[in-house]
Amino acid sequence: MKLFPTQEVGSLSRAPFLKKITHKTIEETKRWGKLLQVEDLDMLLSILSREKISQEEVTILYDYASLFAIRFFESAGLDVVWDGEQKRIEMYEHPLIHIEGIKFLGIVKVWDAEFYRKAAFIDSPKLIKPYHLEEFLFVKSKAKKEVKIPFTGAYTLADWSFDEYYIKRYLDLDDPLQAKLKAKEEMALDIAKKIIRPNIVSLVEAGAKRIQIDEPAVTSKPWEVPLMVEVLNESIKGVDVKVTLHVCYSDYTKLFPYIADAKIHQVSIECANRDSRELGSTDEVRIGYNILEYFREYAEWLEVAPGVIDVHTDFIEPPELVRDRLVYAAKKHGDVSKIIACNDCGLRTRSWDIAYEKEKSLVRGARMAEELYS
């Protein structure tokens, strides 16, 4: 059994040729294409050299972007890969454009000048078509390694949306918190049953073995963690697939004890961001990984993928630091076979050069950690 297998979390910044096509981006495309040994590179370069690119060729460019990202992770040596979400807008808007019963109302600030386009549920949602299937079929046809498909979870889609439908049923309640909770429960369960589960079923029927459900919103309302677990279980009910729950930049203590009721196999969390950069496996330096004790206490059967690569800095973690973080995580958890080497989150905010070095460090560090146990 391989100890500390490696996996990515989801996103990667856009392939060079999905940006404005200039001499520089073409050179970048050539460089990465050769480094990653991407197939049929000449055809891509031929498209990029044209004065006008047709709609059909744009679709081909997105396929190439997906292929580049798959080879990116494979070339770095990861055991489980995805295509860096090259074909998605972002994690909220992308699913919602495939759903009837919602309307986009405009943009809202997240912080400073960062914003997102926010939608309201105005009816019970209906899936227009499974929105990750084509993406998966393409990745499956190209990937040489195991594939894991990341999804935005039902709870987060509910939490990040306005509710103009479900809440109407409870406006006459005196207790506003009860009203909101009941409406949220119905909304999130509806999304789980009518949107997320059909998507998962379509993927599993097409051969998917692993999925990752992203629930970044879960601990923002700690009193709703049990609801997220209920909704998660509803999303995967009756489906035979390995499920990872990804949560990041949150107070993970709020997940416990409820997470033990989730019918999942693995939890992926961000830890490197809150850790020190010093080498060693002591409590003093590995301050980002105390949460592993909670897993040992409440849900020791779960695999845990603690982030050992910080995705919000250009600092390249030395393999020795990756090793020490993994060793410490294993010590805290108590079962080395349950620890997966992973990034904190998607790599969308890093350049490809930085991301590639980080991923190579992830793999080297994981192998160094494994050697200590051999």
Binding site: L105, G106, I107, V108, K109, V110, W111, D112, A113, F115, Y116, K118, A120, D159, W160, F162, D163, E164, I167, K168, L171, D172, D174, D175, P176, L177, K180, A217, S220, K221
Partner: protein, 320 residues
């Protein structure tokens, strides 16, 4: 006879044009003066909207406040601005102030952030974080204790307020106090905060309001009723109005219009709830407000919510 008015209680929504202007500015593609011009243009529209809606006091939109704490954190000595942290239970973030030493006010804190001249004299409403909210949302890297920090902050902000009121006639000062109700605090802390607030608002001539939001207002009652304040505001998406009616509050702000959901409330349904409250308590003044800042709504929805407040005020029988 209860008087009924409308009010806003926090930063207004930025439209797409303004958000993109900030992005351009951050990327050095837009000059500071041009950004300022655009902010003022949008602020004027927000002021005009509130005037037309007949709101009693008027905010200037707070469009340059990236978050409630930022202007203060950036301009107080002893405080630095650090990384992102979640803004209560929202999909929104603020930059966490880091307290590195004694907090002092050296120069004006808010000049450059406020536009009182856009508002008719005497109707400008200024909103600030209460001492506990600011300090508890900061990271304390100094060796100072909570009590000291609360009073240092209050003293610094009191200086700011006294200086501001010399230059401008402030109609209302609101302390935004989500941290007082997000979790139930010990009575000792609530009492200390009351003293700090008295220090902060000492000598302030404007009407003094506190707004308790993102939590159950009952968490801070009855302690807050003893504070030296004129108006107490509640977030009725968290606070049960029927239970709130057990308390005698002369001037109350009812945040009954959901500032975080796009659904436009039914005027009649809302009005009936307020009618019942008036029948039971007969307060001197009721302010009808959103539950929180309107910055969590797209601007078109925020505008509709302001008009909705005006309709509720008219229906309940107040002035508008």
């Amino acid at each position: 006879m209860t008087e009924v008015y409308g009010l806003l209680v926090g930063a207004y929504s930025r439209n797409e044009y303004l958000i993109k202007s900030f992005r351009e500015y951050f990327k050095n593609k837009l000059e500071r003066d041009e950004l300022k011009k655009r902010i003022i243009e949008e602020a004027k529209k927000i002021v005009e909207l509130q005037s037309r809606a007949g709101l009693r006091y008027i905010i200037d939109g707070m469009l340059e406040w990236h978050d409630l704490l930022r202007p203060i954190a950036e301009n107080l000595l002893g405080v630095e601005v650090n990384g992102l942290a979640r803004w209560f239970d929202n999909n929104a973030f603020y930059k966490k102030p880091i307290i590195t030493g004694e907090i002092h006010r050296k120069n004006s804190i808010l000049s450059g952030y406020v536009y009182p001249d856009l508002v008719t004299m005497g109707r400008w409403k200024l909103i600030l974080p209460d001492p506990y909210t600011f300090i508890s949302l900061s990271e304390n890297r100094s060796k100072l204790k909570l009590d000291d920090l609360l009073f240092h902050y209050s003293e610094a902000l009191n200086n700011e307020l006294l200086e501001l009121q010399i230059k401008h006639r402030i109609g209302q000062v609101q302390l935004s106090a989500p941290s007082l109700v997000w979790r139930k605090l010990e009575k000792d802390i609530l009492d200390t905060v009351g003293h700090a607030i008295a220090e902060m608002l000492k000598g302030v001539a404007a009407e003094k309001m506190i707004h308790l939001y993102f939590g159950d207002g009952l968490n801070a009652l009855p302690a807050v009723l003893d504070y030296d304040l004129d108006v107490v505001g509640f977030d009725l998406t968290y606070t049960n109005l029927k239970i709130l009616a057990d308390y005698d509050i002369d001037k109350v702000a009812l945040g009954i219009v959901d500032g975080r959901n796009s659904l436009l409330e039914d005027v009649e349904m809302v009005a009936k709830k307020i009618d019942r409250y008036i029948d039971e308590r007969e307060p001197e003044i009721i302010y009808i407000t959103p539950s929180c800042e309107l910055e969590f709504l797209p601007i078109d929805i925020a505008n509709e919510k302001v008009k909705l407040i005006s309709r509720i005020v008219k229906r309940v029988g107040g002035e508008s």
